[in-house]
């Protein structure tokens, strides 16, 4: 079990904010921190990693106390068994990919793990290259592999997928899910992307202004959970045309755009950029498969 309790005053772009987090995470789960930028997601992750000190708090991972401001316990980053994947990947430019991975080894650790990770992440061809020559997706795979060399208990990923294109995103999602299972990890990742949250995570923590406003299973949080409405589509309003009695919404759903008409009375609060759920009772869809999905994992 991972118990997190922390408080810290932050200077966010929108002004002063109190980060106030209290939650627990079951081992082996993949958890997403979801929320607007400036909500405190990265700070939470950095505090877990020991890269930022909270004003007050207590963090335990599987019974080990990493931080306890009452007992004055503070484990430095070096002593926490945590793998961290940085948003800018943070590969060491002076080392080749293989050297980046072997630098991560413990003093007496065998090199076997490196070959294993190279195989899983399919980066064998890149081994002797410097990070400079790699694409974003390739660097990301190396960064994930490097974070796993020391076999951490907890893997933290700071927006691992935001800088990648759709195709690479799908691929990296697959790799992350695969190592999450094979290495028996508890994984926490930050994401802005609703589809990604729904696709990958067991649990989602929705952050707003430094506080967790919702926590639980992503499907139950982001859907109306209504049996008569089994069909839920999430999207973002990208255009709003208000007429006298109705409003036309242009909605971005994944890569697709849909236009729907809603009545003004029920939807007075809608503004541009809102994330919404569309449900449709009595909806009888016909489904046709066009491309085989990529997220197939050995169960």
């Amino acid at each position: 079990m991972i118990e997190i309790f922390l408080k810290k005053k932050l200077n966010a772009s929108s002004g002063k904010m109190l980060l106030d987090i209290k939650t627990s995470i079951e081992p082996g789960k993949l958890v997403t921190l979801y929320g607007k930028s400036g909500a405190g997601k990265t700070s939470t992750l950095r505090i877990l990693a020991g890269l930022l000190k909270p004003d007050f708090g207590k963090i335990t991972v599987h019974g080990n106390v990493l931080l306890d401001s009452v007992q004055k316990v503070y484990l430095p980053s070096q002593k926490r068994k945590i793998g961290f994947v940085f948003q800018d990947y943070a590969l060491f430019p002076n080392m080749t990919i293989f050297e980046n991975l072997s630098f991560a080894l413990h003093k007496k650790q065998s090199k076997k793990i490196i070959n294993e990770l190279i195989e899983i992440m399919e980066i064998g061809d890149l081994q002797n290259q410097k990070p400079y020559h790699l694409s974003g997706g390739q660097q990301q795979r190396v960064a994930v592999a490097r974070a796993l060399v020391q076999k951490p208990e907890l893997l933290l990923l700071d927006e691992p997928l935001s800088a990648l294109d759709e195709e690479m995103r799908n691929k990296i999602q697959k790799y992350i899910l695969q190592v999450h299972r094979e290495f028996n990890l508890t994984t926490i990742l930050i994401s802005h992307d609703l589809a990604e949250v729904l696709k990958m995570s067991d649990q989602v923590l929705v952050l707003d202004h430094g506080k967790i406003i919702q926590s639980g299973n992503p499907i139950s949080i982001f859907s109306t959970n209504d049996r008569t409405n089994p069909f839920n589509i999430t999207g973002e309003i990208i255009r709003l045309e208000k007429l006298e009695s109705t409003t036309f919404l242009t909605i971005l759903i994944g890569k697709d755009i849909a236009k729907i008409e809603v009545s003004n009375e029920e939807n007075e609060t809608l503004v541009l950029g809102d994330k919404i759920i569309i449900t449709s009772p009595n909806f009888k869809p016909t489904i046709k498969k066009i491309i085989q999905g990529q997220l197939h994992l050995p169960s």
Binding site: A49, L51, S77, Q78, A90, F92, N94, Q150
Partner: protein
């Protein structure tokens, strides 16, 4: 031409550069990564030699280390170290005087690195020392080279501070820049010219080397 002043100059520049490299790496590391409130004060002190007349520095060093005064007397009696009018004194003064020329390039090298490199190394369980030697320093090679060369060249060019604290003792403190002044005073323009030409040619070559290496011109031939 008497080669002694030139040799003494290079000896002084070499020793100063080595000492400054060792001192400046931790100092620049602290300046680049610390969030301490005393940082602006330390930064100011490091940069002072850039704007302070060398004679001011030399004057205060002379006063502070004079065996006639408390601290200088203590050094002389207890450690047998006489800073004033000695080669050791020249080294000490040069280290202070050339400090910004070594610290600034290294500090900006560190600052330009993404802090996530440092943090990534910590997350991999590496100590600050390992991170410094395996990750940070290898990625700021050009800043290190700039610092080393500027310090060396700047020490060669010293005059005021050396004259104040070292005087003009042949073989001990008479470096090339002072020898030139000396020869001109005695109207030996020929000798002054010889020293000057050597210093001119040498500093030109050293700086040219830095710009060639840091400009990446050499890499065209290596690949």
């Amino acid at each position: 031409m008497d080669w002694e002043p030139l040799l003494l100059t290079f000896k002084l520049a070499l020793i100063t550069t080595i000492i400054l490299l060792l001192v400046s790496i931790p100092l620049a590391y602290w300046l680049a990564f610390s969030k301490s409130k005393t940082k602006p004060i330390i930064e100011t002190l490091v940069s002072m030699p850039l704007v302070l007349p060398p004679t001011v520095l030399g004057f205060y060093l002379l006063i502070a280390f004079s065996p006639a005064n408390g601290f200088g007397k203590w050094l002389d009696e207890w450690l047998g170290l006489r800073i004033v009018f000695s080669f050791e004194g020249l080294v000490f003064a040069s280290v202070i005087y050339s400090l910004p020329f070594m610290v600034h390039p290294i500090q900006s090298g560190f600052s330009n690195l993404s802090t996530s490199l440092l943090e990534a190394s910590f997350m991999l369980g590496k100590s600050k020392m390992t991170t410094l030697s395996k990750v940070l320093l290898p990625n700021i090679k050009s800043s290190l080279l700039t610092g080393i060369v500027l310090t060396f060249a700047h020490t060669i060019g010293e005059f005021g501070v050396v004259l104040m604290i070292g005087g003009n003792m042949p073989g001990v403190t008479k470096v090339a820049s002072i020898a030139i002044y000396d020869e001109v005073e005695s109207l030996n323009y020929g000798a002054a010219n010889s020293y000057s030409l050597v210093l001119f040619g040498l500093t030109f070559s050293i700086l040219l080397l830095v710009y060639i290496v840091n400009g990446g011109y050499l890499k065209q031939f290596w690949k």
